[in-house]
């Protein structure tokens, strides 16, 4: 192994943004036929390192060698021509075009009369099929499929060029277990064909399953390059967070179930609430202090149900009861006024307001419900911002930075702070731990439990069954845009129970 020549050598890479040194003398070597993981907490500089390698950012110091040749990368095109294919952390496709076009953009098959669409679509189909997406029509608009699917399409796109290096920045964060396995199968195939793969993920299980070599970053500093096999978990975590793994706040096994007292009224009840084409009429109760988990496969309708309960989409069917009283929730404003908050899974498009500061992003929802002409007093605002910056450990701890300049995980924390600031009665969290590092994930999970203990109702939507099972009191299982089961999450329930429920109901239906 050691005598192999690296295909990419990055040495002493330094990148400075106004006010932050995002990378400071970082080294990275990628070997053909290996899966290499960049490891580090949120904001450690992983995505920045990747963007240096793909020519998005110009480096301030250091050198990049590809195939033994020193290389200047002045743009993504250069990187692509050097054989580097990339799937970025945030999906970067064009929603106005079809799926097939997104796969083939820039590589369309040409005939004597320009682009030959028949061949191009056929080619797209081929690449989609490799990703297990043969059921997608390449002519359908990209906007008709979920973010998760789009992520897979983005990977299919990356495979179109004959890459020597394939970079995947958190490709698994929105995939469910099956899809992750499919993806790994593909990655192995690609790796075995001699491609160097650079992979980022916050799931340690995945890291140990698929990678051969690790480079660890902390705070923009290069810590170490190690072989995965030779590095125990504790040691890895220690290197990533700079303290011993034991110090990491851990939550115990499964949450003790909150018993519903007889005669107790739920905070929120929906009766036959539904919207044509999105989610069938559904009943659901959420009690104060209860955590309701939504489980289901991709596209099962969890997000749709969450959005409906928040008024982000208007229901066309059913009733909404709040503390037993009938209400009409038909816009986020009304929902927020009534103490219902929803944290989106689509952080970039529906979550952050990119060009506002962290502070403004935290306060904006509270401000919206107070009204435009009733500004939050500065002192109160300072307190709120201070509190959540600390409590959620947002880094860098500067609330006046633009949120778009934060790492993905830290953006997520700011969004959670936004909703906590309004003290909702019901908080709907859609994939709140997506893209969050292990430390922060534990913090957020902990936070959910605390909030529930304080009496907040929580709907917890996640593709990670493990955390759904661990945190929820009740688990609502959805399939094909329909609720198929309510599982009381007692000690007998495990991930397997839910998988089984989903599988069985398929047969019944």
């Amino acid at each position: 192994m050691t005598d192999k020549q690296p295909i990419v050598v990055m040495k002493g890479i330094t990148i400075e943004f106004p006010g932050v040194k995002a990378l400071d003398g970082v080294n990275l070597r990628l070997f053909p036929g290996e899966v290499h993981a960049l490891m580090g907490e949120n904001g450690a500089g992983k995505s920045t390192m990747i963007k240096a390698l793909t020519g998005v950012y110009k480096i301030d110091a250091g050198s990049i060698t590809v195939d033994g040749k020193p290389t200047q990368l002045n743009g993504t095109l250069d990187a692509q021509n050097a054989g580097i294919a990339t799937v970025y952390q945030e999906v970067n496709l064009c929603t106005n075009l079809s799926i097939g076009e997104n796969v083939m953009l820039g590589h369309e098959k040409r005939g004597p009369f320009g682009i030959d669409w028949k061949k191009t679509h056929a080619e797209a189909r081929k690449h989609l099929a490799k990703m297990g997406l043969e059921h997608l029509d390449p002519r359908a608009p990209l906007s008709s499929i979920s973010i998760a699917m789009q992520q897979l399409v983005a990977i299919a796109r990356a495979m179109v060029i004959d890459a020597k290096v394939l970079i995947l920045d958190e490709p698994t964060s929105s995939l469910d277990a099956n899809e992750v396995q499919d993806l790994f199968a593909i990655m192995r195939k690609v790796r075995d064909s001699g491609v160097a793969i650079l992979f980022v993920s916050h799931f340690l299980d995945q890291i140990y399953e698929i990678t051969d070599r690790l480079t660890i970053l902390r705070n923009g500093q290069f810590i170490k390059e190690v072989m995965t096999k030779e590095t125990p978990r504790d040691e890895l975590i220690g290197m990533m967070i700079g303290k011993s793994a034991a110090e990491l706040s851990q939550i115990g096994a499964k949450k003790a179930r909150r018993e519903i007292k007889p005669g107790e009224k739920p905070v929120v009840t929906i009766k036959q609430l539904g919207r044509r084409g999105q989610i069938e009429p559904t009943d659901q109760d959420v009690y104060a202090g209860e955590v309701v988990g939504f489980a289901g496969l991709l596209g099962s309708g969890r997000t749709e149900l969450g959005r409906l309960m928040f008024g982000a989409d208007k229901p066309d069917h059913g009733d909404y009861l709040l503390d037993g009283k009938k209400v009409t929730i038909d816009s986020p404003y009304v929902a927020l006024k009534n103490g219902i908050a929803y944290s989106t899974e689509n952080r970039r498009d529906e979550g952050i307001v990119a060009d506002l500061t962290v502070r403004q992003n935290m306060l904006i929802a509270l401000q919206a419900i107070r009204g435009m002409f009733n500004p939050i007093p500065k002192k109160e605002a300072d307190e709120i911002v201070d509190k959540y910056m600390k409590e959620l450990n947002v880094r860098p701890p500067d609330p006046n930075k633009l949120i778009k300049n934060l790492s993905g995980g830290n953006q997520q924390k700011v969004l959670i702070a936004r909703w906590l600031a309004i003290h909702p009665k019901l908080l709907i969290l859609d994939e709140p731990t997506r893209g969050i590092d292990i430390g922060a994930k534990a913090e957020i999970q902990q936070k959910v439990l605390e909030l529930a203990a304080e009496g907040m109702g929580v709907v917890f939507i996640s593709s990670e069954l493990e955390e759904v099972v661990r945190l929820s009191d009740t688990i609502t299982v959805l399939k094909d845009h329909k609720k198929i089961a309510d599982i009381v999450n007692d000690d007998t329930v495990s991930q397997a129970t839910i998988v089984e429920t989903i599988a069985n109901s398929g047969k019944e239906a």
């Binding site: 496709l93 064009c94 820039g106 009369f113 320009g114 682009i115």
Partner: protein, 339 residues
């Protein structure tokens, strides 16, 4: 409107790639035909071959400008300089013709001047981060100003010039005793049609074209996908400005004279045509054929207001309201379809 209700049905029947994006364009077709029919029923002159002929001959320039404007608008940009480029190329061209320069050379120089302004706009946009609106507004002032500096005279074409041939009477395909029943076509119209075909092929059958759509969808995504965004932007503004010069050739050849004041406000006519044709001003969606129809719809508004005897002061209001109704209708149809 019955037509509006019909469209979505027709759509479903076809299925496949036929999606909501095409509705505004189809609405443009339907409404154009309805307007023609209305004109014919009420005034009896709209189906005359002469009317149809002059609709095309007199608006060949607008069709070219609409195609030109479609490119930047598809990326969410705009080219406000097209009208002024018509002016400067017309003035320079006419001056040179009068100075005895051979017509073919004049044509080439006119196109090159257009291209030069396109290049300048491209540089301002891509190298100096100016927004297209501001960059092309600047080149618009610049072109118009230079045209005025060169000459404020009304310049006429010298006699017997091969240049005039482009715009000349052209050919009568159907020659009736009455001129109002003649169907004629001239080289200008043919050039316009060639430009339309060129626009169609560029947008739908070249990688550059697809990159234009991608930029309109999301420029940053297009960049991250490794598409040649910068080069494409240059191509867009070069093409639109060069086509504006071509429109100038067609127009000046047609009327045989030129002036620094020609083309004032044409950029807005072109934008209106593009929008009526269903292209979304924020980019990403639209068709060049829609723009052509938009140009025809735009062209037919004035005859209709004249025939309806709209009082002079209100003509602009009526034209505005007609475009508004158009846009609202398209919006309604699109929303209806989404439901």
């Amino acid at each position: 409107m019955s037509s509006a209700a019909v469209t979505p049905k027709a759509k479903k029947a076809k299925g496949g790639k036929f999606d909501a994006q095409m509705i505004p364009t189809i609405a443009a077709v339907v409404i154009f035909i309805l307007m023609l029919i209305m004109g014919q029923v009420l005034f009896g002159t709209y189906f005359r071959l002469g009317f149809i002929s002059s609709l095309f001959i007199d608006h060949a320039y607008l069709i070219i400008l609409a195609v030109a404007m479609t490119l930047p608008i598809l990326t969410g940009g705009i080219d406000l300089s097209v009208g002024a480029i018509v002016a400067i190329t017309a003035v320079v061209g006419m001056k040179m013709l009068n100075g005895g320069t051979p017509a073919p050379l004049v044509l080439i120089i006119m196109l090159l001047i257009g291209a030069a302004f396109g290049l300048l706009a491209g540089v301002l946009i891509e190298e100096f981060n100016m927004q297209p609106f501001i960059a092309t507004l600047s080149t618009m002032f610049l072109a118009r100003g230079i045209a005025s500096i060169i000459s404020t005279d009304s310049l006429t074409m010298p006699e017997n010039n091969s240049f005039a041939w482009i715009g000349g009477e052209g050919w009568k395909i159907i020659d009736n005793p009455k001129i109002s029943n003649d169907l004629s076509i001239n080289l200008g119209v043919i050039i316009a049609l060639v430009v339309v075909v060129f626009g169609y092929i560029l947008l739908h059958h070249t990688r550059t074209g697809r990159t234009i759509y991608a930029i309109g969808g999301s420029r940053s995504s297009a960049e991250l996908m490794g598409l040649p965004v910068k080069r494409t932007q240059y191509i867009i503004y070069l093409t639109s400005a060069t086509l504006a010069a071509l429109a100038s050739i067609v127009y000046t050849a047609n009327i045989g004279s030129a002036k620094n004041t020609v083309g004032v406000g044409w950029e807005l006519d072109a934008v209106a045509s593009v929008v009526i044709g269903g292209t979304i001003i924020t980019g990403g969606f639209g068709y060049v054929l829609g723009s052509v129809l938009g140009a025809l719809v735009r062209s037919i508004l004035e005859p209709l207001t004249t025939d309806f005897g709209v009082p002079a002061e209100a003509v602009q209001i009526v034209v505005g309201v007609m475009i508004l109704i158009f846009v609202v209708l398209q919006r309604a149809v699109t929303a209806f379809k989404k439901e």
